[in-house]
Symmetry: C2
Subunit: 148 residues, 2 copies
């Protein structure tokens, strides 16, 4: 169990690194990685401004990138780590991906999928929250503070 | 009002043409178009198999394509026509796009966003359903019948 928590923290730190890359690009700082059998197969960060595309959330890009690496569109045996709770769009994409485990950092009290409907994700999907939540939330807070 | 209905049918027929293109590619036959000030600025159909990507729904591609045409990521003054009710992923993407009007054909009793949470779409978004619903549903039914 301790090993699992350490791993979750390790991979979440990688997602947080992605969020920091987004921050440096003046993008809303959210990052994600997809891990398959202990290996990071995709890294992504929010690029909605750079790509001029509201669908370019970290999770969506991570799903697409991971499927490219795997050569199949379903992310079986994978875990997504994302610094903030997915929105309904991303949760819906994760449902379609059949990913069995999702780990997120900070809650999104305004746009998190769980506010709309927890059932957007499959009942059998393992969901862990709160990993490095404070660091993830602090990065977002700093971003929006700078915007004021 | 009659003019509006005729227009909605006209544009939905374009979306249905896209769905038929998907059908011919052995993709789940769902099509979409984005209309801005009377002009079709994006056409898309489901490409999840071709692109090996669960996020490649017609609506998601239509959002991205329309934003490219407009040069801005928000689809103000646009209408999305899609042959089948959007899933939570696509409804979530449409929320982010700030599109003011969505017209869909057939209900999706299993994966439609409204089953999960009608509030995934903004309360001010105008939603019209049932336009060419029978034709859209029949195409899907034929597709899944052929798959058996």
């Amino acid at each position: 169990m301790i090993g699992t928590i350490l791993n979750d923290e390790y991979y979440m730190r990688q997602a947080l690194n992605e969020a920091r890359i987004a921050f440096d690009k003046d993008e809303v700082p959210i990052g994600a990685v997809v891990v398959c059998r202990g290996r990071i197969i995709a890294r992504a960060h929010n690029l909605t401004e750079t790509l001029n595309d509201v669908t370019a959330h970290a999770e969506m890009q991570a799903i697409t990138a991971a499927a490219n690496v795997l050569g199949g569109k379903y992310l079986e045996n994978c875990t997504l780590y994302v610094t903030v709770e997915p929105c309904p769009m991303c949760a819906g994409g994760l449902l379609w991906s059949q990913i069995p485990k999702i780990v997120y950092g900070a809650k999104d009290e305004k746009r998190g999928y769980s506010i709309y409907s927890p059932s957007i994700l499959h009942v059998k999907t393992q969901i862990i929250s709160g990993i490095l939540a404070e660091e993830s939330a602090a990065l977002l807070k700093q971003f929006f503070h700078n915007k004021r």
